[in-house]
């Protein structure tokens, strides 16, 4: 923790100056907070207004009569096509695909990172570079060939198919995170363990894994956000019955004709974002801690 509020220079400026500085600091931070909060504020207030009030009122005004109708509509009644079941069924699909995909890609990332950081062999750096470059491939490029591959594997339109795609394109980032974290663990540790007769698996299981909690949190947050919010893969590789929540949200929000129910749109958006928001709010502290613990040291 670097803390300058109590250092010598400021103390000389006297208490009044110090308090003014403090207030200025809080003021700036709050101004930034306004910038970040504005869209959420607009979404939230809009979702609580009636359509009539949205049409007549100002964008930034608070709702006159708070109503949760839009929320219940978005959750269980909004029409996505001819089915009017709201986001509920799709929410479940998203969970079914993101939980395994996050777990598998995190596990693979941990193993890959462990090998690349601590069990180097000839060419392991090259493999790492190739994986890293894979993070940058624009996803639009892979849609069509991947569709073909899923067809061949008989996984087209299924949840396992979507899990497969997300794992493949998640490995690059998860490997990067774990590799950068494990690189900071002294090689002597591994050497000593080897002398004691421990093998590849034993060392990973009893030395590295217990140390990995912070970086697991970082990786899980990153992967969960990416997979949960994905639309492009979700819309391309699903079929009726396996569509994730982002596709349903898009169906509610992006209808090109007909009356737009903005309050339902906004409520649906917030509902669809609930799991990721929750993850950030609950695990945000560990996120910074995990990053601090070494993953960003490059």
């Amino acid at each position: 923790m670097t803390d300058f509020s109590t250092n010598q220079t400021t103390r000389k400026q006297g208490r009044a100056g110090q308090i003014a500085l403090r207030w200025g600091l809080y003021l700036i931070l709050c101004l930034f907070a306004l910038y970040y909060l504005m869209p959420l504020f607009v979404m939230l207030t809009t979702s609580l207004k009636s359509l009539e009030e949205i049409r007549t009122g100002s964008l930034l005004s608070l709702p006159r009569n708070i109503t949760f109708d839009a929320w219940s509509t978005a959750w269980s009644k909004a029409c996505t096509g001819i089915q009017c079941e709201g986001l509920r069924p799709y929410f479940w699909n998203s969970l079914l695909l993101s939980v395994p995909a996050v777990m598998i890609s995190t596990l693979l990332g941990a193993l890959n990172g462990y090998v690349i950081a601590q069990w180097k062999f000839k060419g392991s750096n090259l493999i790492f570079s190739l994986m890293l470059f894979g993070c940058f491939i624009p996803f639009q490029v892979v849609l069509l060939p991947m569709a073909r591959v899923l067809g061949i594997l008989n996984m087209a339109g299924t949840i396992p198919g979507l899990i497969f795609v997300h794992v493949v394109y998640g490995i690059g980032f998860t490997t990067l995170f774990f590799r950068n974290y494990y690189v900071t663990i002294p090689q002597e540790l591994v050497k000593a363990a080897k002398v004691d007769g421990a093998g590849f698996v034993r060392i990973f299981w009893s030395i590295f894994l217990p140390l990995s909690l912070p970086i697991i949190v970082v990786t899980v947050i990153w992967q969960f956000t990416q997979i949960w919010n994905d639309f492009l893969f979700g819309v391309s590789f699903s079929q009726a019955g396996t569509q994730p929540v982002t596709v349903a949200l898009n169906n509610i929000v992006n209808s090109t004709t007909g009356v737009k129910e903005y309050n339902v749109d906004m409520a649906a958006a917030i509902i669809a974002a609930m799991p990721t928001l929750l993850v950030y709010v609950v695990a945000g502290k560990y996120f910074i801690r995990g990053l601090t613990a070494g993953s960003v040291k490059g």
């Binding site: 923790m1 670097t2 803390d3 509020s5 250092n7 010598q8 600091l25 700036i28 931070l29 930034f32 907070a33 970040y36 504005m38 869209p39 607009v42 100002s58 964008l59 193993l111 890959n112 090998v115 690349i116 392991s124 750096n125 570079s129 190739l130 994986m131 890293l132 470059f133 993070c135 940058f136 491939i137 624009p138 639009q140 490029v141 069509l144 060939p145 394109y169 490995i171 490997t175 093998g199 956000t225 919010n229 639309f231 982002t246 949200l249 898009n250 992006n254 749109d265 906004m266 649906a268 958006a269 669809a272 974002a273 928001l277 502290k285 996120f287 910074i288 990053l291 960003v296 040291k297």
Partner: protein, 290 residues
């Protein structure tokens, strides 16, 4: 035999991921390169006709716009996000009482999908609905903020929303960096009476060089892949003034049935990525060999 097997375990562990990347990243890049040399329209075809798709691409004014937008957007997005992220991280690191709350506020945009925050931004930036009309309502009649509808400035609104989404994550990276700087060094500097600004510019920031690099890579990757952002905020408009290569490619491949042309634009995009990432990888590898 067992000994040999033991030695091969790391390679065996790495193999499935490596093969997957080889096939599904590099294999697909080769596939795209092949298709970019064909006349594919609705679905991919495999009869090579030469470089005609690239000629068409470079002849298209819309592609020019998309590439120069990528440059404007990319530079501003990366620079502003880095600056803002660093500034907020430094301010937050001054023993702020409600740090947890503020940090969550700065970080949450990363959790939201742009499919809908785009709508909210569209309203906020719309002169008739959002900031302009609200400020005018406060009595500042001459206040103007109409970038969203001005073809020359619309790309900057994309920057505003992009920075909003990504800068919190960069802030987290920098905050983590500040927290991992060795306390002893700073204490020593303070005892020597070195002013705070000097401590930052001469000691703390240089020690965070790797973090700048990580942040740059994350941001560059977001800038190049930016797609939802533009679709949700401007739909590429006014006209096609806010088109980016990713949206151009998507439009050609999926709404215009011109897959050959889309593939050629994808290859050009990939070359841009290559030009940015390879120097980074090179420095990564060299650092490791030290």
């Amino acid at each position: 035999m067992l000994k040999w097997f033991e030695k091969q375990v790391p390679k065996i562990v790495l193999a499935p991921s490596f093969i997957a990347i080889l096939l599904f990243v590099y294999g697909f890049i080769v596939w795209t390169g092949w298709v970019s040399l064909t006349r594919s329209r609705l679905l991919p075809k495999y009869d090579i006709v030469g470089f005609i798709q690239y000629e068409r691409l470079f002849d298209s004014p819309r592609w020019d716009t998309a590439m120069s937008n990528l440059f404007i957007f990319g530079v501003l997005f990366i620079v502003i996000s880095m600056f803002l992220g660093l500034l907020i991280a430094i301010l937050l690191d001054q023993k702020i009482r409600v740090e947890g709350v503020l940090r969550t506020i700065y970080l949450y945009p990363m959790a939201l999908s742009l499919i809908v925050t785009g709508t909210a931004w569209k309203w906020i930036l719309n002169p008739g609905l959002g900031i302009e009309s609200v400020v005018q309502g406060w009595g500042f009649e001459n206040f103007k903020f109409d970038w969203l509808i001005n073809p020359d400035y619309a790309i900057y609104t994309v920057v505003i929303a992009g920075v909003w989404q990504a800068s919190g994550f960069v802030m987290a990276l920098f905050l983590a960096g500040l927290r991992s700087v060795d306390d002893e060094v700073i204490k020593a500097a303070r005892v020597d009476g070195i002013p705070t600004t000097r401590i930052y510019s001469a000691i703390i920031l240089p020690s965070m060089a790797p973090i700048f690099l990580s942040a740059f890579i994350v941001l560059a990757h977001l800038a190049i892949k930016s797609f939802d952002l533009v679709i949700a905020l401007t739909g590429g408009g006014p006209g096609y003034a806010t088109d980016l290569p990713a949206t151009y490619m998507y439009a050609l491949a999926f709404s215009r049935g011109d897959i050959g042309q889309a593939a050629s634009s994808a290859m050009v995009m990939m070359m841009v990525v290559f030009a940015i990432v390879v120097p980074y990888l090179y420095s990564e590898l060299r650092a490791k060999n030290d």
